[in-house]
């Protein structure tokens, strides 16, 4: 009796869930990409992360900040894993404002690995004013801050199209298939051959979009590889312990005439 009730319960719940598409009929589902960091043992593609950082640095960083990352993160395990020298060189290529010094003056100096990523604008208002009234969001946790995550970010990057007939766009507004409301104030910045990859990979729009999305996914979840690795160990440990405790329980309860 209880079993048939549970079946009924599950069925009606499934029915409810299947009503879901009714709601999001207008939105186009993002493209599903088979990311290397998906799944229980997923890891980042090191080369893709390094290329992605290059795309970020040369393209995105002129408008988008990543204020929660430090240059040292680029050399840490589980990330792009640039060498110590490379990280120092990357950091030193930025002029960082520091101070005040003993005279009370602010000064600039070359960046150090411990510095946070330099933001392109001094504050949100300046960023908004410089970009036609649309704030280019900080990208530190962008992948976690959007429904659809990496798939969504990638889809938007490759989702620029001419507007369908009947849709007129204001100046500085672009049509994007995957963006909510289809209107985006970020122009299509990626074009084939835009970046000259250090490792010789051909820089197609698709390649750059995938690389920079991988980089952003890592930026949002720099702990992902360690999390996956630890998780597998924890689950194996718990399963073994559960089996041992189960056997102990059976043994202890065998003294009683009741099934446990």
């Amino acid at each position: 009796m209880i079993k048939s009730n549970i079946k009924l319960l599950v069925l009606s719940f499934l029915l409810l869930i299947s009503l879901r598409p009714l709601q999001s009929a207008e939105m186009v589902d993002p493209i599903k990409v088979d990311w290397s960091f998906k799944g229980l043992t997923g890891t980042f593609d090191r080369a893709s992360l390094q290329r992605g950082f290059q795309v970020y640095k040369e393209v995105c960083a002129s408008c988008h900040s990543m204020q929660y990352l430090s240059y040292r993160n680029l050399g840490e395990p589980g990330g792009p894993e640039f060498s110590e020298q490379e990280v120092k060189a990357i950091a030193a290529s930025f002029e960082i404002e520091d101070g005040p010094d003993s005279q009370g003056e602010m000064f600039t100096r070359p960046g150090k690995p411990s510095d946070k990523f330099k933001s392109p604008y001094p504050n949100v208002q300046a960023a908004t004013a410089a970009n036609g009234g649309a704030y280019p969001p900080d990208m530190s946790v962008l992948v976690k801050a959007r429904k659809g995550g990496a798939n969504y970010i990638y889809s938007v990057l490759v989702g620029y199209e001419d507007p369908p007939p009947g849709v007129t766009l204001d100046d500085g507004v672009y049509y994007n298939k995957y963006m909510a409301g289809n209107k985006i104030k970020m122009p299509n910045n990626l074009m084939d051959g835009l970046v000259e990859y250090a490792d010789g990979t051909e820089s197609t729009v698709d390649q750059m979009a995938k690389d920079v999305t991988t980089f952003l996914a890592w930026a949002a979840e720099p702990e992902l590889e360690e999390r996956h690795k630890t998780g597998v160990k924890v689950i194996i440990y718990l399963v073994l312990l559960t089996i041992l405790v189960y056997l102990s329980m059976r043994k202890i309860w065998s003294r009683i005439d009741t099934e446990v």
Binding site: S12, V141, K144, A145, A180, E223, G231, L238, T258
Partner: protein
Amino acid sequence: MSEHEYTPKSKAGKWFNDRLPLLTLGAHLTDYPTPKNLNYWWTFGGILTFCLITQIVTGIVLAMHYVAHADLAFASVEHIMRDVNYGWLIRYIHSNGASMFFLAVYIHIFRSLFYGSYKSPREVIWIIGLMIYLLMMAAAFMGYVLPWGQMSFWGATVITNLFSAIPLVGDSITTWLWGAYSVDNPTLNRFFSLHYLIPFLILGLVVLHIWALHVPGNNNPVGIDIKKPSKDTVPFHPYITIKDAFALLVFMIIFAGFVFFTPNVLGHSDNYIPANPLVTPAHIVPEWYLLPFYAILRSVPDKLGGVILMFSAIFILFVLPWLDTSKVRSAVFRPIYRQFFWILVIDVLMLGYVGAMPAEGIYLVLARVGTIYYFLHFIVVMPVVGYLEKTDPIPMSISEPVLTGGAEPSLARKVNDKV
């Protein structure tokens, strides 16, 4: 019972126990006679204790690194995620731990509903449990505000604004709650203070909950009174401790699955956008465990009416022991009530589902139907079914599941008392 005669073996133990009978308490907890037929739905009490301790321990560590300031809270959470050693693990355990806590508490509550554990003589256990549940909701809501993301901010705005529906003094109360003229830094600061306080209140109530439980002893799947200790009971240790440990481990595997492999699936992605009072999210939704109440709130076109109905949905549970007129506790022997129980389960799940959807069209209709049934279940179904239902014959004891041949539960109880 053995605990009354308990005397420590060592001289020092006896000396101490005469002054503070902690060892007697320990002996009581170890020997506590527990029905031997408890099924796995009874393991959630132990699981919930584990959840509470986990939340307190991880929460204390998080508080060492978190900054409760509107300008710094979001950044300090990212600091925890990136720079604090295993900060990501501690925070993901804490945030997913809240969900696991509610998952367990809902199973615990519905177990009580199915087996009639709220009925005499366990009304006080039930009421203390509901107080714990209320405090849990308050703690969870305030905790969700602390990262100061978009959902934090707008969730806090929606919920605190509910109080403005109170006639005459509503606006003053809301301003008083905020400590400002909108949700702002003072609000965040006091929520942090209260979020740290409430778990310890819960801990105190848990002690009372267990104390109240140890007076009549556990209910059991058959729902009949049993003599304690007897051949129907087992000592809590090792029989129940090992069984609770096994169930807890299974629970921890699921918990770990969330923490390590999908740590953000139960949260809303908008909460990784820093709070912005000028931009309202398209859909403001609370965490999943509050959705049924959110659906009830939104099912009423009138704000005050919605608030009253939402709070009634919780407070009606406090009088449940007196709304239920059936003399039989366990739904195992209540063929009609059992069907209604499952309808209630489906109803609450459906309310949770429509709570996550926009309040329009079919969802609003479903929310209204669900709300009406929710109240009908407690106000009409429970008293009426209790009177009219012909219950199945109930056994006289756990060890001898002999049917009495009649539906008269008092007979069984009488026989049982003589055993």
